[in-house]
């Protein structure tokens, strides 16, 4: 009886809207039989995006996009609102998951050569979606409205400022004026909450439309290259002979993976919560150490490690060239072998990119180029003297900022060489020369030390050696 009513209602809705049949047909479109776990990352990205939309809308119930209020609403959400801390955590780890899944999805599609004919535009729209996702991550970090956010905007404006001809305009546009101020945050809010999600919805729609139009690509087989003349007919034959309906034969994996991901995100949000808020967004507090969120930590390392004088190339032309290469890829290489076993260069590029990003990421987390402003004066046991030139030299080593950049027995900074055993490799005169003249990354101290101070400092450094038996 109930079943009968249900079917009558469904028939009526289908007659008036046409939607149930259309959705059913789309959901059951035929996919290659071997599309298994490798194929879940695209839907996982979409799943993460949906989490972002839902949690983002919820956060917007309390968030005030105003330079003076954003920070306090963030504190309210984190510290007082029921579920607030958890919700912020979901939004943060959801963003992390989305970036991660975009990366995995892109890697899988690249390795399987799925971007080749006729799916060039699937790839190109995907590259744009990657760009939108990174913009979302970046602007989202700014909406926290804390000190880190303020300096991230300034760093972004400075980067944009290096663009030839229009740099100053771009910087002005990012800051929303001449300085960080009331106009800055609302602009990023509009971009994060309206413009970028709009673009993402539109391009996800286009991306999915293209997936349906060209079909999910079959797993690559070595020795079976893509020939644009015959590919479509071959694919059609494969699908008609062996294709399985997407729902539920293939979709169940997407559902399971998505739920596992949600559980992971929720667990991280529950255990660790969202990142701690920094100091208030006051640009006049000079005690700041701006850091990006983890997914841009490797880029932070690029900024620090690029050779002097090449900033413009790295900051502007680097991302531009990477973008152009990524978009152009399927148009230049739209045929030939798809199997990674026959594309050693593709595998090498993925491996090299991963090694590069991982290395830069580790470097970014350690950030040895950042001076250590919090190094306490060296302890007596390390100095090994309580008076005399060695003791005075050790005091100077701290006072003159040497310790900000140099390590002595694992105390200090890592910007410059470790000086724990410097006397084993430098003679007294070499030390004087180095301290007086400095180097590319070290100030010249000639005008900054009296001869007596120089003597004491060198006496201290001469006492830095590994004791030999």
């Amino acid at each position: 009886m109930l079943k009968k009513i249900y079917h009558r209602i469904l028939d009526w809705v289908d007659d008036r809207t046409g939607l149930p049949k259309m959705i059913g047909k789309t959901a059951r479109h035929l996919v290659p039989p071997d599309a298994k776990w490798w194929y879940v990352f695209g839907s996982a990205t979409l799943c993460a995006f949906m989490i972002q939309v839902i949690t983002g809308v919820a956060l917007a119930f309390a968030y005030i996009p105003s330079a003076s209020e954003a920070y306090s609403t963030l504190h309210f959400i984190s510290d007082q609102a029921p579920f607030g801390h958890f919700l912020r955590g979901l939004h943060y780890y959801g963003a992390s998951a989305m970036v991660l899944m975009v990366g995995l999805h892109m890697t899988q599609v690249f390795l399987a050569g799925s971007y080749k004919f006729p799916r060039e535009l699937n790839w190109a729209t995907g590259v744009l979606l990657l760009g939108f996702t990174l913009v979302m991550g970046f602007t989202g970090q700014l909406l926290r409205g804390d000190q880190n956010a303020v300096w991230t905007v300034v760093v972004a404006a400075e980067q944009a400022g290096r663009t030839p001809f229009i740099g100053q305009w771009l910087a002005h546009f990012i800051l929303g004026g001449d300085t960080v101020g009331g106009a800055t945050l609302t602009r990023f809010f509009a971009i994060h909450v309206f413009i970028m999600p709009g673009f993402i919805f539109a391009f996800v729609g286009l991306h999915l439309w293209l997936v349906l139009r060209h079909g999910i690509s079959e797993p690559p087989k070595a020795g079976k290259p893509v020939d644009p003349k015959t590919y479509r007919a071959e694919y059609k034959e494969l699908i008609e002979k062996k294709g399985k309906p997407f729902w539920p034969d293939s979709a169940w994996r997407d559902v399971v993976f998505c739920v596992v991901m949600i559980v992971g995100i929720a667990a991280l949000a529950f255990i660790y919560g969202a990142p701690q808020l920094g100091k208030p967004p006051d640009p006049s507090i000079t005690t700041a150490s701006p850091r990006p969120d983890w997914y841009l930590m490797w880029y932070f390392a690029v900024l620090a490690l690029m050779p002097h004088g090449t900033e413009q190339y790295f900051l502007i032309f680097g991302p531009l060239i990477v973008g152009i290469i990524l978009i152009a890829l399927p148009f230049v290489f739209n045929r030939g072998e798809r199997s990674p076993w026959r594309r050693p260069w593709a595998v090498a590029i993925v491996l090299m990119t991963m090694v590069m990003i991982a290395t830069l990421w580790v470097a970014g987390v350690k950030s040895p180029w950042s001076p250590n402003f919090n190094a306490p004066p060296l302890s007596t046991s390390i100095v090994g003297a309580t008076n005399g030139p060695v003791f005075v030299g050790a005091q100077l080593f701290h006072a003159k900022g040497c310790l900000n950049c140099h390590l002595i027995a694992s105390d200090g900074g890592r910007r410059g060489p470790d000086l724990t055993a410097v006397a084993d490799r430098l003679l007294k005169d070499q030390m004087v020369l180095k301290i007086a003249n400095g180097g590319v990354n070290m100030p010249a101290y000639a005008a900054n030390l009296t001869p007596a101070e120089m003597d004491a400092l060198v006496a201290f450094l001469q006492s830095r050696k590994i004791p030999r038996p």
């Binding site: 740099g167 305009w169 950042s370 910007r415």
Partner: protein, 177 residues
Amino acid sequence: MKEPNTEHASTGCSASPAELSRRKFLARLSLAVGGIGALIVTVPVVGFILAPFFERRKEVWRSVGKVESFKIGETTAVKYEDASPLPWAGVTARSAAWLRRVNADTFIAFSINCTHLGCPVRWLAEANLFMCPCHGGVYYEDGTVAAGPPPLPLPRYPVRVKDGDVQIQTAPIPITK
């Protein structure tokens, strides 16, 4: 293979030349009128969003303290308000500079923004250096580059003494080209 016929199929009749030219006219009319409508809406929107490009802000002098409150030879961080703070800007309207009293009536104000990527440099009083926390840029006490990635010396802001007050002129965040 259907495409050439769709126009006819949709109107349900074959078109005479007169009808065709009328149809062409109507299509062009719709596009042109639609374009005008779109322009009426988009021009103010784009103008509104790009507004920061067009406004030239008038810089103003801000008092940062009495002359006597600064010791000769010392460099301290001073805070002041932007040229035109918006009512809802809160603490984000604040700016800072490193102010040094060189002698009885000479002051120098350095930007706090590193010329590398804009991070806030700190003054190390005992070392007589400005040091940047981001990528280790270092400047000598006169603001010239001592070490690290900064391409330019620390910018200086105009300072004056008026009625016993030290005043700094507001300025845009210096953006290195």
